[in-house]
C-alpha cells in the first residue's frame, strides 16, 4: 500500500528523517518496503500565467508567450498546442531542473530568446499512468486560482515521500492514512489530530422522500446511505487530486474523487450512485438470479446467485463491495447522488471477487475485513468534503441499517504473566502506557491485572497473547534480551533410521554418485513412457499445474531417467546419480491418507555396465550387513528383458536393478545404455543389521581349492554358487567366482565358471580327508542339478 508522508503529517507531527521514520514503522510492526520521493530532481519550476500568445515571426509551429511569473514577466517560446491566454502553467525558468535531470537555460528559437520552458506532467516527474492521454501529452494546465510564482515542488507535492508498506493479513485497520497515522503516533508516542465530519445534528429528514434501504442478507453487516444534490460535476480541487495521485489513484471528478479520498483516508470503501439512473426509491441488498451485468469498467460480468448485489429492488446496480454498475454511474448530468458507505462480510466479497476475477481497491479492503463502525463516520466525512469543495448540497437525514452493532471486546492482562511470557520485567504502568498509546482503554484492577477494552477497529485482538504482542512491539522486539532456554535438558539426536539414511548417502557419495533433487509430480504420459501400465493406486491431484504434473509419482525411476536425459543431451559424457525420496500410493481405505514409501534410486550412464551398478548395490548391501541377498533374473517392463533382476532377501523384495529397456531409452531420449536400480528404503532398513559383533580371528590355516565347472550358459551363476554353498558345509569359509569363460575349448551354449573355494576349521588344520569328500559332494550335486562337469 502506498502512503503519502505529507498526508500522514497532517495527522501526526513526524519531525524525523523519512528513513528513520521508516525504520521505526518497520520495527513497530508496519513493514516499510521502500521510500520514494515523487520527483527527486525537480528544482526551480514555478507557476506562471500566460498573458499573451503571439505567433513566432520565423516559425509556423512556434508561439511566443508572455508569462506573468508573479514578480516579473518573461518570454517563453513553445510548440505546445494546448496553451491558451490565461492558463496557469508550470514554468521551468532559467536554472531549473526537470524530472529527468535536464538543466533548463535560455534558448534562442529562430531569433527570439526563450527564458525557460513550460512543463508536462512527465517533465514534472508525476506518474503518467494516472492521467488521461490529453493531459499527459500537453503542458500541465493548473487550476485558475493557483498563486503565481509558486514553486511547483511544494504546490504539487513533488517532494512528498511515498512509503510503500506491506501490511499483514490481520491489520485491515491499517489500510488507510488514518490507520497508518494511528500506528505512527503510537510508535513515536505522539498525539494524533482529528478530522472534520459533517454534523449529525440535522434539521430535517428529507432523505426519506428520496430513498429507503432494505438489507436482505447477513453478508451486509451495515448499510449507511446519504443523499446529496449535485451543484456541479467538475475536477476536484488540486489538493485532493494530489493526495489521490500520491496514493496511486487516478483523479476522475469531484464526486468520485471524494469517495476515493475517503477510502484512502479512512479505509472505508464508498460508492456513489446516480440517483435518477436508479429509477427507484429503494435500495435492496440481496442476491439475485441475474446472469449478467456491466460494471463501471464497461465489462460485461457473469454474475450468479452466490454473489451479493446492490439492487434497485428489481435489477442489480452494483456488485456489493466489488464494483458499481454502469447503469447507475455518475455522469456530467448527475443531479442527485446516493452515497453508499457499507460494510460487507469479508468472505462474501472475497468469494465474489474470486469468481469474477475482479479485484478492486474496495474488494481488497473488504476481503481483509472492514470495521462496521467506520461506515457511519466515513459517510459523514465524505458528506463534509462534498459540501466543502462545493460539489454538493446535503439532503437532510441519514439512512443507517445496522442490525447487529459490533460488541466491544474486553480482555484482562496480567502484568506478571506478560513479563513471564515475554521474558522481560515491565511495570503495570508501563504495560498500560503502551496499550493506551494504541488507543486501548485500560483500567487497573489491582495485583498487576489490567482490564482492557479493545477499539472496534482492532478486530485482530482476541486473546491475551494478542495484547502481549501489542505491548512487546511498542516496547520494541529489539529491547527484548536473548536468553538460553531453561527447562529440562534434552538429549535430542537422530533416530537409527535417520542415521542409516545419512550413512547410505555417504557410501554412495564415496563411490562417486551424485545426489539429485527432483519434483514429486509426474503424469500419465510420463509414466506410460516407462513402458508400464498405469497402476490403480495413483494419487491424482484435483488441481495440478498442468497435465504433466497431475500425478504424485509412484516410482523415482522416471525422474532419474529425466536427469540422465538432461545430462546426456547437454553432452556430459557420463553420470552416476542417486536420490532418496518418497513415492505415493492411493490407500484402499477411504478414511486413510495415501501411503508414502521412501525409495532409493541409483542410476548410471556412460562407460558402465550392469555390473558396475550391481557392484554399487552390493556395497550398500554389505554396508547394511546383508550378505545373502539374491539377484533373480526378471523385473518390471521399464528394464531390458535380458538384463534385469529383482533383488530379494529371502522372501522380502528389496528392489529391482537392470539396464533400461530400449523402448524407454527411446521415449526418454536416453543414451543407448543406462542402468537403474530402485530399492525400497523401508525394506532395506528393516533388513539391515547394524550391530556389528566381533568374531575371533582364525588360528588355523585355510585350504584353497579351485574348481572350474562347465555348464549350460543359461544357468545363473547365483544358483551354482548357492549349490556350492549349501553342500560346502561348515568348513566352506568363502566362495569367489574368479572367471567366467566362453570361447575356445568350450562348446557352444556352454560356459565355464571358475571358483576359488576357501575351507577352514576353527579348531584344527584341515587335510585332504576333510576336504575331498566335500568337493565330491559339491560336484555330484552340481552334476545332478545342472548337468555340470568339472573341467580338468
Amino acid at each position: 500500500m502506498l502512503v503519502s508522508l505529507n498526508w500522514l503529517k497532517e495527522y501526526v507531527d513526524i519531525n524525523i528523517a523519512p528513513y528513520d521514520f521508516g525504520e521505526i514503522l518497520t520495527m513497530s510492526g508496519t513493514k516499510v518496503e521502500t521510500l520514494t520521493v515523487v520527483s527527486e530532481n525537480v528544482a526551480n519550476i514555478l507557476t506562471g500565467k500566460i498573458k499573451k500568445i503571439e505567433q513566432h515571426p520565423n516559425a509556423d509551429k512556434l508561439v511566443v508567450c508572455t508569462v506573468d511569473m508573479g514578480s516579473d514577466e518573461r518570454v517563453i517560446v513553445t510548440a505546445a498546442k494546448n496553451v491558451f491566454e490565461g492558463a496557469i502553467v508550470p514554468v521551468a525558468v532559467d536554472g531549473a531542473v526537470t524530472a529527468n535531470g535536464m538543466n533548463i537555460g535560455t534558448n534562442d528559437f529562430r531569433g527570439i530568446l526563450s527564458y525557460g520552458m513550460f512543463c508536462s506532467i512527465e517533465e514534472l516527474g508525476m506518474d503518467t499512468n494516472l492521467f488521461s492521454k490529453e493531459i499527459m501529452e500537453g503542458i500541465y494546465i493548473l487550476p485558475e486560482d493557483t498563486p503565481l510564482g509558486m514553486d511547483v515542488k511544494e504546490l504539487l507535492w513533488l517532494d512528498d515521500v511515498i512509503i510503500d508498506v506491506e501490511l499483514t493479513a490481520n491489520r485491515s485497520d491499517c489500510q488507510s492514512i488514518i490507520g497508518i497515522a494511528k500506528e505512527s503516533a503510537a510508535a513515536l508516542d505522539l498525539p494524533i489530530r482529528d478530522f472534520e465530519i459533517y454534523s449529525t445534528e440535522e434539521k430535517n429528514n428529507d432523505i426519506a422522500d428520496y430513498l429507503s434501504v432494505k438489507v436482505n442478507s447477513d453478508a451486509c453487516e451495515r448499510y449507511v446511505a446519504k443523499v446529496l444534490k449535485v451543484k456541479r460535476v467538475e475536477p476536484s480541487p488540486l489538493w485532493m487530486q494530489i493526495k489521490l495521485l500520491n496514493s496511486g489513484v487516478r483523479p476522475i471528478n469531484n464526486i468520485v474523487d471524494v469517495t476515493n479520498y475517503v477510502m484512502l483516508e479512512l479505509g472505508q470503501p464508498l460508492h456513489a450512485f446516480d440517483y435518477n439512473s436508479l429509477k427507484s426509491k429503494e435500495i435492496v441488498v440481496r442476491t439475485t438470479d441475474d446472469k449478467k451485468m456491466i460494471t463501471l469498467d464497461d465489462k460485461e460480468r457473469e454474475i450468479n446467485a452466490s454473489m451479493l448485489m446492490i439492487t434497485n429492488g428489481s435489477v442489480p446496480v452494483a456488485i456489493a463491495g466489488v464494483m458499481g454498475g454502469v447503469n447507475s454511474e455518475i455522469t456530467d448530468q448527475t443531479s442527485l447522488v446516493v452515497l453508499e458507505s457499507a460494510c460487507f462480510y469479508k468472505n462474501s466479497v472475497r468469494l465474489t471477487s474470486k469468481q469474477l476475477g475482479l479485484r478492486t481497491e474496495a474488494s481488497a479492503r473488504f476481503e481483509k475485513g472492514v470495521d462496521p463502525e467506520l461506515a457511519g463516520v466515513a459517510a459523514l466525512r465524505a458528506t463534509y468534503l462534498l459540501e466543502k469543495i462545493g460539489a454538493c448540497e446535503v439532503v437532510g437525514g441519514l439512512i443507517d441499517v445496522y442490525p447487529q452493532p459490533v460488541k466491544t471486546t474486553k480482555l484482562t492482562l496480567d502484568t506478571n504473566w506478560f513479563n513471564a511470557f515475554i521474558g522481560i520485567s515491565l511495570s503495570e504502568a508501563e504495560v498500560a502506557g503502551f496499550l493506551k498509546r494504541l488507543s486501548f482503554t485500560v483500567k487497573s484492577i489491582g495485583d498487576g491485572i489490567l482490564e482492557i477494552e479493545v477499539p472496534s477497529y482492532r478486530q485482530d485482538i482476541e486473546v491475551r497473547e494478542d495484547l502481549a504482542e501489542e505491548v512487546a512491539r511498542m516496547f520494541g522486539y529489539d529491547n527484548i534480551p536473548g536468553t538460553i532456554m531453561g527447562g529440562e535438558t534434552m538429549t535430542g539426536g537422530k533416530t537409527p533410521i535417520q542415521k542409516y539414511e545419512d550413512a547410505l548417502k555417504n557410501v554412495l557419495v564415496g563411490q562417486g554418485y551424485f545426489e539429485t533433487l527432483t519434483s514429486s509430480f509426474t503424469s500419465e504420459k510420463r509414466l506410460s513412457a516407462l513402458n508400464t501400465s498405469l497402476s490403480e493406486e495413483l494419487v491424482r491431484l484435483v488441481n495440478p499445474l498442468g497435465e504433466e504434473n497431475s500425478i504424485m509419482r509412484n516410482t523415482l525411476i522416471g525422474h532419474q531417467l529425466e536427469v540422465i536425459s538432461l545430462n546426456y543431451n547437454r553432452k556430459n559424457p557420463s553420470g552416476h546419480f542417486f536420490e532418496i525420496a518418497n513415492t505415493y500410493f492411493a490407500s484402499a481405505a477411504p478414511e486413510e491418507l495415501p501411503v508414502e514409501e521412501k525409495k532409493l534410486v541409483i542410476s548410471t550412464y556412460g562407460n558402465d555396465d550392469y555390473f558396475e551398478l550391481k557392484g554399487m548395490v552390493e556395497i550398500l548391501l554389505t554396508y547394511s550387513g546383508i550378505d545373502n541377498a539374491s539377484f533373480v533374473a526378471g523385473g518390471s517392463d521399464i528394464l531390458h528383458p535380458g538384463r534385469k533382476a529383482t533383488i530379494y532377501l529371502e522372501d522380502v523384495k528389496l528392489g529391482e536393478i537392470g539396464e533400461v529397456h530400449p523402448a524407454v531409452v527411446k521415449n526418454y531420449d536416453l543414451p543407448k545404455r543406462c542402468y537403474v536400480c530402485e530399492l525400497s528404503f523401508k525394506a532395506l532398513y528393516e533388513c539391515c543389521v547394524t550391530d556389528k559383533k566381533f568374531v575371533d580371528l582364525p588360528r588355523f590355516p585355510a585350504s584353497n581349492r579351485d574348481l572350474a565347472i562347465l555348464l549350460k550358459s543359461e544357468i545363473p551363476a547365483a544358483s551354482v554358487e548357492n549349490t556350492i554353498r549349501i553342500n560346502g558345509g561348515d568348513i566352506l569359509e568363502s566362495i569367489e567366482l574368479f572367471d567366467v569363460y566362453t570361447g575356445e575349448q568350450i562348446p557352444d551354449g556352454y560356459k565355464s565358471l571358475a571358483y576359488a573355494l576357501n575351507f577352514r576349521h576353527f579348531e584344527r588344520t584341515l587335510n585332504d580327508d576333510d576336504i575331498n569328500p566335500v568337493i565330491e559332494k559339491i560336484l555330484e550335486e552340481l552334476k545332478s542339478s545342472f548337468d555340470a562337469q568339472l573341467r580338468e
Partner: protein
C-alpha cells in the same frame, strides 16, 4: 706362523676392499673362513706348534677371525647401502604427474544445507521429526489456527487430492502430530518437502522445502526464542552475524516476528545480495498460539513455547549465491558437482 697369519689377514682385508657386489662378498668369506678357507687350513697347522706357542697363536688366530668377520659385516653394510642408494636413484618419479582418479560424488546442495541446519539444532537437544507430505486439511490448516475461510485453503494456493486431503503447504502439521502424540517438553525440527501452486520461475517452485522448529516447555519465553534463533544464525552464517526481529503475523504464533540477519556478503553495509538494505530475511517465528496448544491438548497456562519456519531452498540459494532456483531441480552434473 704368526707371520703367516698376519699376511693372511692383510690379504683378506685387501680382498674385501675390492669386493663391489654383495654376491661376491660371500666368496671372500668362503675363501678365508670356509671349511676349506685359507684361515681354516692355516689353523690346521697349529698342531705342529709348541705348547708355549699354541695359545698365543690360537689367540691371534681368533682375533684375526673376528677382525675378518667384522670387516665382512662392515663391507656388507656398506655394499647394501650402496645398492639401496643405486636403486633409489633409479626410482625417481615425477611427483607432479596427476594422481589416479577415483570418482567422488557429493550430496545435493539443498541437503548439505539441511544437514548443516540439523547439526546446529541437534546440538541444542532437538530431535528430527517427519510426517506425511499428503496430509489432512485439519493438520495442515485447522490445528494451525488458519481461519476456515482463509485464501490459503483455496484451490489457487493449495494442491488438493480430496476435499479433506492436501499436499501439505508447510511442515507445521508435523509439529501438530508431535504435540498430539507426545507430552512436553518438546524440542523438534521438521525439515521436509512442501507444495504450493506456484508456477516455476527463478524464485518459485510448486515443490519446495521448509524446516520448522518447535520448543514447548514450562517457562519458555520470547526472550528464549530470540536467544535460540540468534545462536542459530551465528552458527549458520558466522559469529559476526547480527539478527533483527521485526513484528509480523502468522496464525500459528502470537506474538509473531520475522528474523533478518546481517547480509553474509557485505556484512550489513548494503550490496546487491541484500538489495542494499544490509539485511536478509531468513525466517518467521513466534510464540505458539494458545489455540494451537489447546487443540493439541497442551494447557497454555502451564506450558508455553515457540516455533519458527524457514524456506530451505531460499537459504541454500542465499548461502551459495545461486542465481536461479530452477538450477536446484535440474540436476545438471556441472551444477551438482560444484558442491563437494
Amino acid at each position: 706362523m704368526e707371520q703367516e697369519l698376519k699376511q693372511l689377514r692383510d690379504q683378506c682385508l685387501a680382498d674385501l676392499n675390492e669386493v663391489e657386489e654383495l654376491k661376491t662378498l660371500d666368496n671372500v668369506r668362503i675363501k678365508y673362513l670356509g671349511k676349506k678357507g685359507a684361515l681354516t687350513i692355516a689353523l690346521k697347522g697349529m698342531g705342529k706348534l709348541s705348547n708355549e706357542e699354541r695359545p698365543i697363536i690360537g689367540k691371534l688366530a681368533n682375533e684375526i677371525r673376528e677382525e675378518i668377520e667384522k670387516n665382512i659385516i662392515q663391507q656388507k653394510q656398506a655394499l647394501e647401502k650402496k645398492a639401496m642408494e643405486a636403486q633409489i636413484s633409479q626410482e625417481v618419479i615425477d611427483v607432479s604427474l596427476p594422481g589416479k582418479t577415483h570418482r567422488v560424488g557429493n550430496l545435493h546442495p539443498l541437503n548439505t544445507t539441511i544437514n548443516e541446519l540439523k547439526e546446529i539444532f541437534l546440538g541444542m537437544g532437538f530431535t528430527i521429526e517427519e510426517g506425511p507430505e499428503i496430509e489432512w486439511t485439519k493438520y495442515n490448516f485447522d490445528y494451525l489456527n488458519v481461519p476456515k475461510e482463509h485464501s490459503a485453503r483455496d484451490l489457487q494456493d493449495t494442491f488438493y487430492y480430496k476435499d479433506d486431503i492436501v499436499l501439505r503447504t508447510q511442515t507445521s502439521p508435523v509439529q501438530v502430530r508431535v504435540m498430539q502424540d507426545r507430552k512436553p517438553p518438546l524440542r523438534m525440527i521438521s525439515p521436509g518437502r512442501v507444495y504450493r501452486t506456484d508456477e516455476v520461475d527463478a524464485t518459485h517452485s510448486p515443490v519446495f522445502h521448509q524446516m520448522e522448529g518447535l520448543v514447548i516447555d514450562k517457562g519458555i519465553t520470547m526472550a528464549d526464542l530470540k536467544g535460540t534463533l540468534d545462536l542459530f544464525a551465528k552458527k549458520l552464517f558466522g559469529e559476526q552475524t547480527k539478527t533483527k526481529f521485526r513484528p509480523h503475523q502468522f496464525y500459528f504464533t502470537e506474538p509473531s516476528a520475522e528474523m533478518d540477519v546481517t547480509c553474509y556478503k557485505c556484512g550489513g553495509v548494503g550490496c546487491k545480495v541484500c538489495s542494499n538494505t544490509g539485511w536478509i530475511e531468513v525466517l518467521g517465528c513466534g510464540m505458539v498460539h494458545p489455540n494451537v496448544l489447546k487443540d493439541c491438548g497442551i494447557d497454555p497456562d502451564v506450558y508455553s513455547g515457540f516455533a519458527f519456519g524457514m524456506g530451505l531452498d531460499r537459504i541454500t540459494i542465499i548461502k551459495y549465491g545461486i542465481t536461479d532456483l530452477r538450477l536446484l531441480f535440474e540436476n545438471d552434473l556441472r551444477f551438482l558437482s560444484q558442491f563437494k
